[in-house]
């Protein structure tokens, strides 16, 4: 039986989650202690900034308490206090939870892609510590495969929900391909750097404008594989560029309507391609009046957030499809697991039949006397065929019976009937 206990952003505030987190360098030690102290057969720890969860394979039903007290003991927390924020799942619920976490259905931002990598790493760490066995390993394979299906087959991961990705997506909605698009950074802030990095990765060419802190601009330009230019060349650069990311700390307007107008006039003779202005500065850098100019798209921080929220709503709409898919995968896994429970019985049955066959074969050989090689082979083949044919239908039915809810009773009855 697989069990899970843990805390997440839904049940516990950040300070509690922080206190319960397992740092990466202590994970191995924690895994080994967890296994030793709870007596579980297999254990795994998932520790991210939004959740801390302990997974175990343990046949004792009281094991959830053992896991919970381990969590309190390890971090030297009060057990009763912890009890209020910890969720506990066993068996099918635990499996469903594991699938949902990996598929990002339990994430704070539904559909966010990081969780899949974090779950992978958690299993990896357990594998390296030697605390992963066949049960958790099966859970790992199936839940990760299901998570990948959710990503590719539903829209849950589509549409950016972070401000810098939204900027990149908008650029794609305007320009299509971003290859060889000129990206102009005004000011070398953290957020503009993040957005610029995404754009450069998609093939954009960066130019960084620096004012008083020209060195910083040069540094960022080098990091982005682009060039730096002084702020005075703003109009020239504007005429050349497709995308502007402005994020200076300036108290006033940096890019005026007249700047954009002159840039548009300069390029009108050639290609009147769109100009996408992203203003992530507070207070704003770009005069909102530029919105009147044809072919100019200006998004400020609030606009980007509006788009991010709309995208999130789109994701939530897709989550129903994702939920259904995960539920199907969980069912399949549970069926598979139950079918596996009959494997020992089947093996035993087969072993017993084989034993009888050999025994009777020997007796027959002794009674008949010497045989030619062909004759002996024929007897062996005949007996094997009898055993296989007799066992075929019980094998099929046992596997089917395992899926029924009263499987344990049925299996013990079958054991009795077969004298195993």
């Amino acid at each position: 039986m697989i069990i899970v206990i843990g805390v997440s952003h839904r049940t516990a505030p950040l300070p509690v989650r922080e206190a319960l987190a397992f740092p990466r360098d202590q994970l191995r030690d924690a895994l080994l202690r967890l296994r030793a102290e709870t007596g579980a057969g297999e254990v795994m720890i998932l520790s991210t900034c939004n959740r801390v969860e302990l997974y175990a394979r343990q046949d004792d039903p009281g094991a959830v308490d053992a896991l919970e007290s381990f969590l309190a003991r390890y971090h030297a927390r009060d057990g009763r206090e912890l009890h209020a924020v910890v969720y506990r799942y066993a068996d099918a619920d635990a499996i469903r939870h594991a699938f949902r976490v990996a598929a990002s259905l339990e994430s704070m931002v539904i559909g966010e892609p990081q969780i899949l990598g974090q779950v992978k790493e958690a299993y990896q760490a357990a594998e390296e510590a030697g605390t992963l066995g066949s049960a958790l390993n099966a859970l790992r394979n199936r839940s990760l495969a299901a998570a990948k299906r959710v990503r590719t087959e539903t829209g849950i991961g589509r549409n950016a929900v972070s401000v810098s990705y939204v900027a990149v997506e908008l650029a794609r909605k305007i320009f299509g391909e971003l290859k060889d698009k000129n990206v102009l950074l005004v000011g070398a802030g953290k957020m503009s750097e993040l957005a610029a990095r995404h754009l450069v990765r998609s093939g954009g060419r960066a130019t960084v404008l620096g004012g008083r802190t020209f060195e910083k601009a040069a540094e960022l330009a080098a990091a982005l594989g682009g060039k730096a230019a002084p702020l005075e060349s703003l109009r020239d650069e504007l005429a050349r560029t497709d995308i502007v990311i402005s994020g200076t700390g300036s108290p006033g307007i940096v890019i005026h309507e007249a700047d954009v107008e002159s840039a548009r006039a300069a390029r009108r003779g050639r290609h009147a391609r769109p100009l996408f202005l992203i203003d992530i500065a507070v207070p704003r850098d770009i005069d909102p009046g530029v919105r009147k100019i044809g072919g100019v798209f200006l998004y400020d921080l609030d606009d980007l957030k509006t788009v991010a929220e709309a995208n999130l709503r789109e994701r939530l709409k897709e989550s129903a499809a994702a939920e259904a898919l995960v539920e199907r995968e969980v069912r399949e896994f549970l069926d598979w697991q139950k079918a596996r429970e009959v494997v020992p019985l089947l093996n035993e049955l087969r072993r017993r039949a084989e034993e009888i066959r050999r025994h009777e074969l020997e007796k027959a050989r002794r009674r008949i006397g010497p045989l030619t090689a062909e004759q002996d082979e024929a007897i062996v083949a005949a007996t094997t065929a009898i055993v296989n044919k007799l066992l075929h239908s019980p094998t099929v039915h046992l596997k089917e019976a395992a899926r029924e809810s009263d499987a344990p009773e049925q299996l013990s009855l079958i054991r009795k009937l077969l004298g195993l």
Partner: protein, 273 residues
């Protein structure tokens, strides 16, 4: 089966694509084209081809005269052009325009009687050659029109800064613009050839190239607008909004030509070509 029965079946199959597009837009979902709508459209198209073949044998001339035949043939060329573009570029948003349009045209064809025609003018090769060129031209120019429309809608979405359904449904401005530009080039070439064959046909029938009928004028006006559009794109780097608007304006002239030809200029000795 008579061509009528075929055409009813075609309508049912085209309705699948049209309804799907409508429902997806209303429920704000994003799958405009799915494997089963493509399958339904393909079956509809096959039946449509059979319907046209049947109609050709029934009429004894190329089925392109009058509203019944004209609408049906135009829908057929549009669906064909859509399927070709879709297999090449997976451009789903085009379905927004083509599916309802094809459905509407086949519906019109179903609701209008076949125009009685007994005109020697309709015999001969001019009718199939001229109308095939013209209709494929119309279909390509409709795609250009749709591309321009999609561009304007997406531009409005981007300008509003609050994404709604169409923001998610329509591809990038660049893609709409490119689609429109390519389709105008193809449509213009076909339209030019159609006008030339039309003039030759007129000469063969009436003894003069130019009969000064409204559809001749509108065809020439459309042709001039497309020349202007192509030159503006190539020479002065026009694109985007202005190109979309001019393309839409030019298409209204094309639409007038079609409507005049197939609705008002009903078959009789005085009309055609």
């Amino acid at each position: 089966m008579s061509s009528h029965v075929y055409l009813v079946l075609v309508l049912i199959f085209y309705a699948v694509g049209a309804l799907h597009v409508l429902l997806q837009t209303l429920t704000r979902r994003r799958l405009l084209v799915t494997s089963w709508t493509v399958a339904a459209t393909l079956v509809g198209f096959a039946l449509h081809t059979a319907a046209l073949a049947q109609r050709w044998t029934e009429a004894g001339h190329f089925p392109a005269v009058g509203l019944h035949d004209g609408a049906s043939l135009l829908a057929w060329t549009m669906v064909l052009v859509f399927l070709v573009i879709y297999t090449r570029s997976r451009l789903e948003a085009l379905g927004l325009a083509v599916h309802p349009m094809a459905f509407a045209l086949v519906l019109i064809a179903n609701l209008t009687p076949i125009a009685p025609v007994a005109d020697p003018v309709l015999k001969g090769l001019f009718l199939p050659i001229h109308t095939t060129l013209a209709f494929f031209g119309y279909a390509a120019l409709f795609v250009a029109f749709a591309g321009g429309l999609l561009y304007l809608i997406q531009e409005r979405e981007l300008r509003s800064r609050t994404p709604r359904t169409f923001y998610y449904l329509i591809p990038s401005l660049e893609r709409c613009d490119t689609l429109s530009a390519r389709a105008v080039e193809a449509g213009f070439a076909l339209l030019t050839l159609a006008i030339i064959t039309g003039l030759l046909w007129s000469h063969a029938v009436h003894g003069r190239y130019w009969t000064s009928s409204p559809k001749e004028w509108s065809a020439v006006v459309a042709w001039c607008l497309y020349v202007a559009l192509i030159l503006a794109r190539q020479r002065s780097g026009w694109g985007g909004r202005r190109a979309a608007l001019l393309g839409i304006a030019a298409f209204t002239a094309v639409a007038f030509t079609f409507v005049w030809m197939n609705v008002f200029a009903l078959p009789g000795a005085a009309r055609t070509p």
